[in-house]
């Protein structure tokens, strides 16, 4: 039978791999570049896939499924693993029943992230085996391999991808699904109840497991030597492997698919037969440090950057600067093509809040009121950009709420001037705990929940307050207003996101109150609204060219010498600009005569 071959992204391939390998339970919180894994997996039959409110819960769902005997998949972006680390580290001690793979999607170059931490360190830290695919086929294959390792060695497994692997497409050979019957659950407190007496015994097993895994790593086929010219040897993994093959097709390569624990004998054998030895890896010297501890001298971060992605250009440039065998490196990579435009500046095109975005009004109000705004993670982080320039901080999911408390305590005289802003999905992720703290310690600060009824930034995923599940089935819906009150917040106000005057009045009132308060600013994300209202247009007669409407940074408005112009193809008719116009020159199309 001819195998079916399809062009899949790494994320599609991971989902396919989980389906084929008999995964029956999967959980995740959306986060670029991991989001599409569960969005694809949910389409397969006989797999239960769900969004959890955050990565810690997703991990715990996976832990429970695995202990129960099912094969489980948990996926998240790199910073999500920080949230999930608590269950992960102890799950390493208990081990599994059904296999469990945690996908950590890292983001070197920070295409869509607030840091570029190298999560391979989590594998070493938590003593969990680590796999690193370098293309879509390997994404699929390594999910199955990971589940097998997980069950064979009684351990969770981390599959670490990077953005270029998650979001690149390559051909993948498809197979059928294998048996997906969960193993029976057997009660075993010595394994699963980690009281100190049990955990001490488990830690011994973890260390024994590590030795066995190191032995396994020597022969697992994903760790392989590709012998070619032995004057140069390169040890590499993940996307860097592809770049090495691209620019130095004739050097010898030790391609590591399992990067923790490392195969020491294999590395020694490789190192002993090459004249020059390099390690090519993005971000941290994860392989390099371990290889050095084996007493093997290698060249790595001495010349390759720890920051960002390693492009083919950087690779060639650095290799040429170090090697005695320049003929093995494709120097043509460094040759320039068409000359870049240098005579004139090329304006940047930063991401912006969309036309009709319900976040625009509140940031306009906050900047008018000169508030200190503790911000959070989501589209509304863009409220930090000109002309709104309203957001003061962005740290991590949920951080706005607790940090507003800290700021309020650091500067009591700033009372009335410190607020936090957080999206609905982010609030449910890890914002609730911060608000409990504020209520508990009675700190007079205002938490503004920007409720646009979706997880917008990652591409509109449902969450516990939208009323739908990942599978688009009706769900119970968190009542944010009632939740805040139940936590102990007495002042909870709900406001329409486009009612600017009211927003301004309420923000002022609530910020100045002498007790904790919450403002829920409501309107669905503009991209969710299918039926557009009529666009606005400028009545040239009454426009006095004061540019007040330009202060909201709407991409549908353009300032010109003859007054403001509305791009009617972009305008959603949200009304915001018209509310700032002192002469009523911005009118709904059809209301203007002539």
């Amino acid at each position: 039978m001819e195998l079916k071959k399809e062009l899949l992204t790494g994320n599609e391939a991971i989902a396919r791999g989980a389906y084929e390998a008999g995964v029956t339970v999967a959980a995740a919180y959306p986060g670029t570049p991991s989001t599409e894994i569960l969005e694809n997996l949910v389409k397969y039959p006989r797999v239960y896939a769900q969004w959890s409110p955050n990565e810690k819960v997703a991990m715990e769902v996976g832990v429970g499924a695995s202990i129960g005997g099912a094969r489980a998949l948990v996926t998240m972006k790199h910073v999500g693993v920080n949230v999930a680390a608590d269950p992960l580290f102890t799950f390493s001690y208990t081990g599994v029943n059904g296999g469990l793979v945690l996908v950590s999607a890292d983001d070197p170059g920070m295409h869509s992230s607030q840091n570029e931490q190298d999560n391979r360190n989590y594998a070493k830290f938590s003593k969990i085996p680590l796999l690193e695919p370098s293309n879509s086929q390997e994404c699929k294959d390594m999910i199955r391999l990971g589940l097998e390792i997980s069950e064979q060695f009684d351990t969770p497994v981390i599959l670490r991808t990077t953005t270029r692997v998650n979001h690149s497409q390559g051909f993948v050979e498809l197979s059928d699904r294998t048996d997906d019957t969960p193993k029976p659950y057997v009660k075993n407190p010595r394994k699963y109840v980690t009281v100190p007496a049990h955990a001490r015994a488990l830690h011994v097993l973890v260390e024994e497991r590590r030795s066995k895994l190191a032995e396994y790593s020597e022969t697992v086929p994903v760790n392989r030597i590709e012998w070619a010219d032995k004057r140069i040897g390169i040890i590499t993994s993940g996307i860097s492997y592809q770049n090495v093959k691209e620019v130095a097709p004739n050097v010898s390569v030790l391609k590591l698919g399992m990067t923790f624990p490392l195969p020491e004998k294999l590395i020694r054998e490789f190192a002993s037969q090459v004249n020059e030895l390099y390690v090519v890896e993005e971000l941290e010297p994860f392989l390099e440090d371990q290889i050095r501890l084996m007493g093997i001298e290698v060249t790595g971060k001495k010349m390759f950057p720890r920051i960002g992605e390693i492009s083919q250009r950087i690779l060639v440039d650095k290799l040429l600067s170090a090697t005695a065998y320049k003929e093995l490196i494709d120097a043509t990579v460094l040759e320039d093509g068409i000359e870049a435009e240098k005579e004139i500046p090329i304006p940047l095109r930063p991401p912006v809040l969309c036309p009709g975005c319900p976040h625009r009004g509140i940031f306009y109000v906050l900047s008018q009121l000169k508030m200190t705004v503790m911000g959070d993670i989501g589209c509304y982080t863009l409220g930090a950009l000109p002309p709104l320039e309203s957001v003061d901080t962005t740290i991590c999911m949920g951080a706005s709420v607790g940090s507003a408390l800290g700021m309020a305590k650091a500067h009591p005289e700033m009372h009335g001037k410190v607020v936090s802003v957080i999206g609905d999905s982010t609030f449910l992720h890890t914002g609730i705990n911060g608000l409990v703290d504020i209520a508990y310690n009675k700190v007079p600060t205002t938490t503004i929940i920007l409720d646009n009824s979706t997880t917008a930034m990652t591409g509109h995923q449902d969450h516990p307050a939208t009323g739908f599940t990942l599978a688009k089935e009706p769900a119970n819906q968190v009542d944010l207003e009632a939740l805040c009150k139940a936590i102990g917040i007495n002042r909870v106000v709900v406001v329409d996101a486009f009612d600017i005057d009211n927003l301004k009045k309420i923000v002022k009132e609530e910020a100045e109150a002498n007790e904790p308060s919450v403002i829920i600013v409501k309107r669905p994300c503009a991209l969710l609204i299918k039926e557009r209202s009529l666009p606005y247009v400028v009545d040239k007669e009454s426009c006095i060219n004061c540019n007040k409407c330009m202060k909201i940074g709407c991409p549908a408005l353009t300032a010109g010498d003859d007054g403001v112009v509305v791009n009617t193809a972009l305008c959603t008719g949200c009304t915001l600009c018209s509310k700032l116009c002192p002469t009523g020159a911005l009118k709904k199309e059809g209301d203007v005569i002539g």
Binding site: L7, T9, T32, P33, H111, S112, N135, T163, R164, H167, S168, Q169, G170, F171, I239, Q242, N243, K245, E246, S311, Q312, R313, V333, E335, D336, G337, I338, E339, A340, E341, E343, I344, P345, I346, P347, L348, R349, P350, P351, V352, L353, C354, C379, L382, L385, P386, P387, M457, T458, G459, M550, G553, P555, L557, T558, A559, A569
Partner: protein, 195 residues
Amino acid sequence: MANDKVTNILIVGVGGQGTILASRILAYLAQEDGYDVKVSEIHGMAQRGGSVTTQVRMGKKVYSPLISEGKADIILAFERLEALRSMHYLKKGGIMIVNDQAIEPVPVIMGLQKYPDDIIGRIKAKIPDAIAIDALNIARDCGNDKASNVVLMGVLARKMGYEWDQCMKAIEAKVPAKFLELNKQAFEKGWNAEV
């Protein structure tokens, strides 16, 4: 396309312009020819009106999904400022196809920066046979602005030497049935455009 050589196509534009459909059609065409293909896209912030880049590489064996500066055989630009921004990715002698449309970025809208004048002239000064086409207007004639991506695909597919029937098959495979007729029409206008 020479057998042992990889063809690099860089598609640039602005979030929401439909660059991804173009890459899917190209990948399908390459697959039908029996080539290895890698496609790379960056999601995330791009959805909010930022610059977007899709890279398509096809050949006997393709390793990296990424195209180095100066190594693109073809740039398909959905917006002229993005063409100017990415010009140095094109190899000498490469093909540049530009949709002669301007989408002003927010710093320009706000009057902080200026949208450059005569972008097409600046591109042609360095790439004399660059092709500029008003795909938006052509798409509008077909009844939907959003079909400009397929108009551009028509220009590109002909330039790359694909057969008409091959292209129709690719479009049928990659475009939702509801928009098929519109897209076929748009593709044909691009294919027949005098460029």
